[in-house]
């Protein structure tokens, strides 16, 4: 019964990372299967019917599509292991390059949205849970449901119209002023615009980029906050029924502290896991947000290649998304292990 936790955190992280490999493998296989079992073949789909048979065959060979499905699968796995996600069909741009050039914008968008969602969601959820069934709770729940129900793209435009009324000069499209964008070659250190402008010490560009972030982040953040509010509320309600909460009250711990230290903290344990899963939702939301705000992110690229029916590019980008999601799940598990001493590793 001694306090023998049977391992160290670094080892846990290492083992957890090892476990990622089979998970990613399953995801890759799903992606591969989906895109290859599909009717038609990538080359004719992307190239249209304009190409003659020879060129088609050439292209097929170049893309390795003349081999057996299994051979293709193996080489696909092998490539991914080498961090090669393939190249677009038409322009032969490596998918990794697309990810590099457009991933930064998606990253700052989603992180910003997450930040906003947590800032709104955590306190509101806690309030609603603590004051269950009061008018305050009703109001917060209504916010939680409606903000999630409202189509993101429509909310986005609504915000644009609103902001246009308040301040017609506030940017509502893209990630930066076209003029700054034109000189963007100087900002390629991290490929994250916000960071690059900051590193370059260009305050004007930085504030401009920051201003551009507000609306997209807010739009996506509001959607996410609705989910978090509802989640936190339910978990706080359940945690408040916990026996240790009653025991804390019996020791005379003030109600505010009981809610904060006992109910809320314990409510966060399941919430962390589910918030981790919301990364998937954020990705979905990012695609919509980007297309609403003309955001030069990876979501717009995905849509573009879907439009072009470029299977390889789609496959690469989807794989990239999957890897991100899996890696977040590792982070979530590690956070859980740090927060909850009962997690044994």
């Amino acid at each position: 019964m001694a306090s023998s936790s049977s391992g160290s955190l670094p080892r846990y992280i290492a083992v957890r990372l090892l476990l990622v490999i089979p998970l990613i493998w399953v995801l890759l296989s799903v992606v591969f299967l989906l895109l290859r079992v599909a009717p038609g073949d990538p080359v004719s789909a992307a190239g249209g019917d304009r190409l003659d048979a020879d060129t088609l065959a050439q292209r097929r060979e170049a893309a390795g599509l003349d081999r057996s499905l299994f051979a293709q699968y193996l080489s696909y796995l092998g490539d991914v292991a080498k961090f090669d996600f393939g190249s677009t069909f038409r322009t032969q741009t490596p998918v990794l390059e697309i990810v590099r050039d457009f991933g930064g914008a998606t990253l700052t968008l989603t992180l910003g949205a997450f930040l906003i969602a947590l800032l709104i969601g955590l306190p509101l959820g806690r309030l609603a849970g603590r004051f269950r069934d009061t008018p305050l709770d009703v109001g917060i729940r209504l916010y939680g449901v409606v903000s999630y129900a409202a189509p993101l793209f429509w909310v986005g435009i609504l915000l644009v119209v609103l902001v246009n009324k308040l301040d017609p000069t506030w940017p509502t499209n893209g990630i930066a002023d076209p003029f700054i964008l034109a000189t963007s070659d100087t900002y390629t250190k991290t490929h994250i615009f916000l960071l690059d402008t900051l590193i370059a010490g260009d305050t004007d560009a930085f504030t401009d980029v920051l201003k551009h972030h507000l609306l997209p982040c807010l739009t996506l953040g509001i959607l996410l906050s609705g989910v978090i509010v509802r989640l936190v509320r339910i978990n706080v309600i359940q945690a408040l029924k916990g026996d240790y909460v009653e025991a804390a009250r019996a020791r005379g711990i003030p109600e505010g502290r009981v809610v904060r230290k006992h109910a809320f903290r314990n409510a966060l344990v399941p919430v962390i896991t589910v918030i981790g899963l919301q990364v998937a939702l954020t990705m979905s939301g990012a695609v919509l947000t980007e297309s609403t705000f003309g955001w030069p992110g990876i979501g717009t690229q995905l849509l573009k290649y879907i439009g072009e029916r470029d299977y390889i590019a789609v496959q690469g980008i989807v794989t990239f998304f999957a890897v991100i999601v899996v890696l977040t799940s590792v982070v979530v598990d590690v956070v859980n292990a740090v927060v909850d001493p009962r997690v044994r590793y």
Binding site: V15, R16, L19, R344, Y345
Partner: protein
Amino acid sequence: MLTKRDPTARPGPVIETENLEVHFQLQGGALARVFGLKARRVKALDGVNIALQRGEVLGLVGESGSGKTTLGRALLGLVPSTDGRIVYHAPDGPRQVSEMRGRELRQLRTDLQMVFQDPSAALNPSMTIAEAVGHPLVIHKIAKGAELRRRVNESLERVGLAPVERFANKYPSDLSGGQKQRAVIARAIILDPEVLVADEPISMLDMSVRAKILQLMLDLKNDLGLSYLYITHDLASAKYFCDRIAIMYLGRIVEIGPTAEIFANPRHPYTKALLKAIPEPDPTRMVPRDLPRGEIPDAAEPPLGCSFHPRCSEAVAECGWESRDLRVVLEQHWTRRSADYDAERKLVGDLDKLDRPETTATLGAGDPERTLALLDKVRAENPDEPLWKGVRSLESDGRAVQISFEEGVDPALRRAGGVEVACVLYPDEGAGAGATGAAGGTTAGSDGSG
């Protein structure tokens, strides 16, 4: 049809076990499983020999974690055994439960039945009482239609759930605890079984109902000629209810014998402690003072030698003293006197190093002389502490204090007077005097698969 069997017609055991072992593979974290790290084994049953005679009530008494519930379940084949044999002496000859699988095992359940501890959990919440009680007949395709109804009614009436119409179409949630337990019993007897394993059948019931349910079980035994394995932690009800009693501790039977003898003349220190600890509604009795310390240990890493030795006040040198016991004694010392804790704690060094089942221990960080002095102080404080009897040597090697303990003996069950007991204090009467370790055979350190 509920008929009476005559237990005297075929004397002898109805079911018995031979060196029965049930080991569970403990699951570590999800990761440990994937990478095969540290798969811990819990010896829930570690070589149990027990025979339930036809028509008797055999009590199985022990604390939670002693393996008594596992034994009951293993007899019905609900838990697979990892070694040893279970033999059911069916009317048409002996059959090995431990070899049965699937259909054959399910068929066995018409003869062996079970009553559970928590009646609220033992009934399917979405089945009516009549459905639940009649379901065994449906499963074994014994009755249907009017015949099924008739037999369900008969069984319900037999357990006192009468008038039947009042209960038959109720759901478990509409019934009280006692009523639900009656329904569970009705379901158990509807197949006209020979053996009933009753796993703490009254412990979850309200105090005013316990006697009633116990009476019902006695009546059923007498009327139907049943044999009972009565699993309990309540010695008082066992004393009233059982013909024989087996005391279990950490997967083993430590004492077994006729009820009267066990209560009049308990031999194993554990049995003595249990008897002393039962609170009696007798105002002249006072709270007992000399109780065993600590709690039942982790079955995944049982103590060396006799499992009870760390808690035993009568323990002697060969009981199996080890490194982990030293930690307990040190911690007890600090519990008594906390003044010098910080300084003394430093003298001892890494305590977690002691958490190993070994007969040697290394103690101290830097100054072995002062560590030795500390140990002397601890010993002087409580010279009666049995641990010190088991210390073979205690000396400094210049850097730390080295302690080694006597090799322990794992005592096997052997005859002592009217009972059998597993304790080094009771030498094997059959093997002559002084053969303390001979019968046990297994020495400490081996994994005791004797």
